[in-house]
Point group: C2
């Protein structure tokens, strides 16, 4: 089944205690697509500026990501720069320049408008709503991500969005902020009452909680020997989930549990390399192999 | 198989954002024993002062905890007081008065000296070593807990202890402190190299990591709607683990995975009540019922 993502495509400057690199290909839609493509082709809607390097575009095209929906606008590409602290979990956002992404007026190529699976990656809530409006028919499964910025600045639009999506993916602090509930089980249930019957709460290195209808599933993160750069882990987590569900066409609670495994494994590879490196140097076989190893670590004997 | 615990028995003053109570029965050996007794009888070695309330002693006796090893010494009972912050995870220790526990010279009743399973609950490292020396024969399975205080003040004794135990249970920050490794997988492996072939790293509300020989097992915590008081959660986690292994007499990696489930569920009940209330108001059936529910939440479809 077809999978469409809309979100940011950007240039990242990332600094960790050991490394600093600039002008990296980044953005929520990019990390999502690079993870989802292990499972299914991906259509990508986004905007870049005239400064967007040709090799970044080539990299995406080489990974079978459909770029018909990638608009080049006058101006500069979205830029983000961040610096990780010694624990490789906490980070400081040094700069966010929306540039052409700030005024992005999305256009959907005709082939995109009937996508079965739609992921509204992290970006302005009004952009997420606009893309939903542009769909010729309501996709089978619509999932959105959001962040603290949109929760605090676009709350009324977010409330409308929550009524129109099947699932919301967000991190623990965002879930607490959105619901004013501290315990994640309560926060998740409160979000379900706001609209989406499915909620995925990301806990970073501590895994994720999935509430789908009455089902509750808890999955730890894949344990790593070393975290090189966690940038994009959350977006590739969503990419693994959506890539799997679009390829299996299974959005039952059981299917979603399985999808979370693939999302978690995709995110683990992301953290093992700088920028996109961890995801670019592997193929589907590596993903499946780690899924089998991870299942072993989670196996609870009868 | 017989299970022996040595550790602190104390009077706690606990304050949460919603409640404050004083002179509560507490201590590492107490929380351990109250959780372990769901599975097997427990022998307890410890010391209290002349001020130890008769009703606290009665409470333990009523739960079939063998108090032959409970010494009453001249002076005051060990006291701890702590205050939890709004997130119910972080806490401030307001006061620790070792009192009679500070000079405790343990004596083991003859029946205790051949215990098959021994848990050296959190307490001075030299006390843990002394108890080991007093055993008539080396128990089948010796497990110790420790904390930041002993890691920093009794490191050389701790190194000796690590060479004499089968398993170490400690929390994530302590594992990092002991090994100077940030990633828990690395920290756990480094501890295995120090002696114990089994390491359990507790991550509080994020679950636990078990390394036993070459086996690696990850278990999240049981998700709670509300945390009332997490005091003693780590000790009752160990109690559930040791109670289960002593009753099943299974210390294989598979058996230990199962034991972690019981420990996690015991800890979850602890957090749901103030002080020991969450553990006192339930029976084995409640533990088994929650284990079944928890298994459902963890079930990863093929």
């Amino acid at each position: 089944m077809s999978l469409l993502v809309v979100g940011s495509i950007g240039l990242d400057d990332v600094e960790t205690p050991r490394t600093k690199r600039t002008n990296l290909l980044g953005g929520s839609a990019v990390y999502f697509a690079i993870a989802a493509r292990f499972f299914t082709p991906v259509q990508m809607v986004g905007v870049v500026g005239e400064d967007f390097p040709a090799e970044h575009r080539q990299l995406l095209a080489d990974r079978d990501i459909d770029l018909e929906g990638l608009e080049v606008a006058k101006g500069k590409t979205f830029r983000w720069s961040g610096k990780y602290l010694e624990n490789m979990v906490d980070r400081e956002t040094l700069r966010t320049d929306l540039n052409v992404f700030g005024e992005f007026d999305p256009k959907l190529p005709p082939a995109y408008r009937t996508a079965d699976y739609l992921f509204l990656a992290n970006g302005h809530t009004s952009l997420q709503l606009k893309v939903l409006d542009l769909m010729e028919q309501r996709p089978k499964f619509v999932v959105a991500d959001t962040m603290n910025l949109w929760i605090s600045t676009t709350r009324s639009e977010l409330d409308i969005l929550l009524g129109r999506i099947d699932a919301l993916v967000l991190n623990d602090s965002e879930a607490r902020m959105l619901t004013e509930e501290h315990e994640l089980l309560r926060a998740g249930r409160a979000i379900q009452k706001m609209g989406p019957s499915i909620v995925v709460i990301k806990k970073g290195e501590h895994g994720a909680l999935l509430l789908s209808h009455d089902d509750c599933f808890i999955l730890p993160a894949y344990p790593l020997d070393e975290v090189i750069d966690p940038t994009g882990a959350g977006d590739s987590f969503a990419g693994g989930i959506m890539g799997w569900v679009a390829s299996s066409n299974d959005i039952t609670p059981v299917g979603l549990r399985r999808a979370l495994l693939y999302g978690t494994v995709a995110a683990s590879f992301t953290c093992q390399g700088f920028s996109l490196d961890g995801l670019l140097n592997i193929d589907r076989k590596d993903v499946d192999k780690r899924c089998r190893e991870f299942r072993e670590m989670l196996q609870l004997p009868a």
